[in-house]
């Protein structure tokens, strides 16, 4: 079947995006594995907070 020619981001304005390597990403992405490995504190903005969740602790300490 013929593939529709998608326009990849490469054909768009690359300057608006920062293509990160996996290694570079690991230093900014708040992924658990990265944290566990490096212990690096990660600062996060509020917009990354998930809307739907609850604490699983009975007292709900936080």
């Amino acid at each position: 079947m013929k593939r529709y020619p998608s326009i990849h981001i490469a054909a768009l304005d690359r300057r608006r995006f920062l293509g990160l390597s996996a290694a570079a990403l690991a230093s900014v992405l708040p992924a658990a594995r990265t944290l566990a490995r490096t212990g690096t504190p990660v600062t996060l903005s509020d917009r990354e907070a998930c809307f739907y969740h609850r604490l699983n602790a009975p007292e709900g300490k936080r």
């Binding site: 992405l29 658990a32 907070a49």
Partner: protein, 326 residues
Amino acid sequence: MTEVACELCPRGCVIPEGGAGDCRVRVNIDGRLRASTYGRPSAIHIDPMEKKPLYHFHPGSPVFSIATAGCNLHCLNCQNWQLSQRGGEEMEKVYRADPDQVVALAREQGCESIAYTYSDPIVFYEYVEDTGRLAHEGGLNNVFVTAGYINREPLRRLCRVLDASNTDLKAFDDRFYREVNAGSLEPVLDALVTFREEGVWLEVTNLVIPTLNDDLVMIRRMARWIRDELGEGTPLHFSRFHPQYRMRNLPPTSGETLDRARQEALDAGLQYVYVGNVLGHEGNNTYCPVDGTLLIGRIGFHITENNLTGDGRCPSCGHPVPGVWQ
């Protein structure tokens, strides 16, 4: 150590501090749940609306389409497993695109719509909502291409920014969902009904896999459910399976199987039943359910002719065809 329970999807992962949910992208950091791919898409393309597939929503228009890593299902036959079955930190490519940049770029590229697609946009829920709100402010439409494995309350909230969805109904069989997708059927049926109740334009896709979900009795039950719960005017797309990922042992779906599935659904009373992934099949076209007039001709994702009147009616008999035609 503070555990957090994610309440976004039916999986209900309880995530220990430092851990990620089953989707790999919703992570517990210091007792707070974070959407780790927010603003970090790994796929950005411009597609035709027909590729979603949406056949009754702004036909022929280009859609700015984005996805991040991660998925809350694990289909053995996933078409996008390099994207969906990985976390953000495992991706070779990650772009930075804040919601306002996505909207600006979509406009710059002449797209009237933004699609949240490829993996399952459920797992980048907050990014969809923020981008969707800005898109609406800028006069763009939001298209949500999903497997519908999400809890009702979050979906209802998200529907406020959505205009259209193509939702997979992978089989009308809970056991299939458990064995092939690592999910379950009931939440998906709930999601389909929710889209309909919230007024989001809805089309349904069923990928027909030889021997696993091609049973005509099941297809009939599925078609009747769609007719009764979603309406006879709901477009249903039967799509051809290609062997890939962890399901390479089965052959591609035959044309005859797809023909039989389509006929079964038409017989059950659905009015717009399509066959996808088969080039030049008459099931790519839209016909008037009353008098059989060819309304929209398609080859692949390309529109060859559009005979609908300006307000979306059959030019011969005036039958109104449901959809968003503009």
